[in-house]
């Protein structure tokens, strides 16, 4: 599958606050397509993670496995992405991410993003702004949940929310 700049813009409008097709064209040049069948592990918990993965089609799931227990954190649907932490600052993946459907991804590495920041700072900055808003949202909800647990003396079941797929890698 090869996406045109116009398609990239339509599929991931939040990444291009300017709304300009030209910006999508700039980013498209730095993206590497990746196709994975259902059931493949994209990133294992503990792996060094260095890229942002845009999901063009298919479905991803993030989960945690510990002592034989599997905890699903959330799903990633087309038009969304994982790996914003790694893109900004490569580090260890906090959870596992796998495909639950045959998936088409577009990969932006940290190095490619560094190049984008140098050569097209306005485009990089627009993207970064959206990613930062996601991180802030994530921090606010995580903080509230961690605190809720610190507050309560009895354990209370806080179900993982759907947005747990974002901001974890």
């Amino acid at each position: 599958m090869s996406l045109s700049p116009a398609q990239l813009l339509r599929r991931f409008p939040r990444l291009f606050p300017s709304g300009q097709e030209e910006d999508a064209e700039t980013l498209l040049r730095l993206l590497n397509p990746l196709r994975l069948p259902a059931g493949e592990v994209l990133i294992e918990r503990g792996d060094l993670s260095t890229s942002l993965y845009l999901l063009a089609s298919g479905e991803l799931e993030t989960d945690l496995t510990e002592a034989g227990q599997r905890l699903i954190l959330g799903q990633v649907k087309p038009g969304s992405w994982v790996g914003e932490l790694a893109l900004i600052s490569p580090g260890t993946a906090a959870a596992r991410i796998r495909t639950v459907k045959d998936s088409a991804l577009l990969v932006l590495s940290h190095d490619a993003f560094s190049a984008l920041r140098l050569e097209h700072p306005r485009v990089a900055s627009g993207m970064l702004h959206t990613l930062m808003l996601t991180l802030v949202e994530r921090l606010r909800s995580s903080n509230a949940r961690v605190i809720r647990r610190l507050d309560s003396t009895t354990l209370q079941l806080t179900r993982p929310e759907a947005d747990d797929a974002q901001g974890i890698l």
């Binding site: 932490l85 600052s89 700072p121 900055s125 930062m132 991180l135 921090l139 606010r140 961690v146 079941l157």
Partner: protein
Amino acid sequence: MSLLHTLGNAPEFKNLSANELEGVEAAMTVRVYRDGHVFIREGEPGDSLFLIIEGEVIATRKAKDGSATLLARMASGDLFGLLALIDEGPRSASCTALGEVVVASLPRRRFEQLYNSQAPAAYTFQYMIARQLVRDVRATNEALIRQMLDYTESEVHAALQNVSVEFRPSRGGEEIGDDESTQ
């Protein structure tokens, strides 16, 4: 230590010219604050970002019983007050000077001016904020994941207890019966 020195120490600012660094410096206000000064009050609207130049600042949050929980202890080079600057929401924690501190503040208005000027320094500053956000998100993810895994463990424990409770009446009854018959 000066603001320029603190900025210069951040890896993000390594590639900036002296002129560009001075642009950031000009947008910020540096002051010495006394021990106990409250920069940010939890729940209040916020419109400034802070950079610690010298000294320490603690971030705390109120628990239900009114006691404060220590979230972080921050030092030179650390940024705080980022969330409200980005999403204009309320402050998520209180930040208080621990001893005398030198802190540079950047009001949102000045940040936006810097940002809209499309100066390299503004982009660099934005990236510095993004990296701090990533560090914060990673730290809370850690805490949250630990909680989730702990919880899973206790959930499993509870489930196992339920299972044994469900099976206990009949088996327990038999055992009691057996015990009684043998006595």
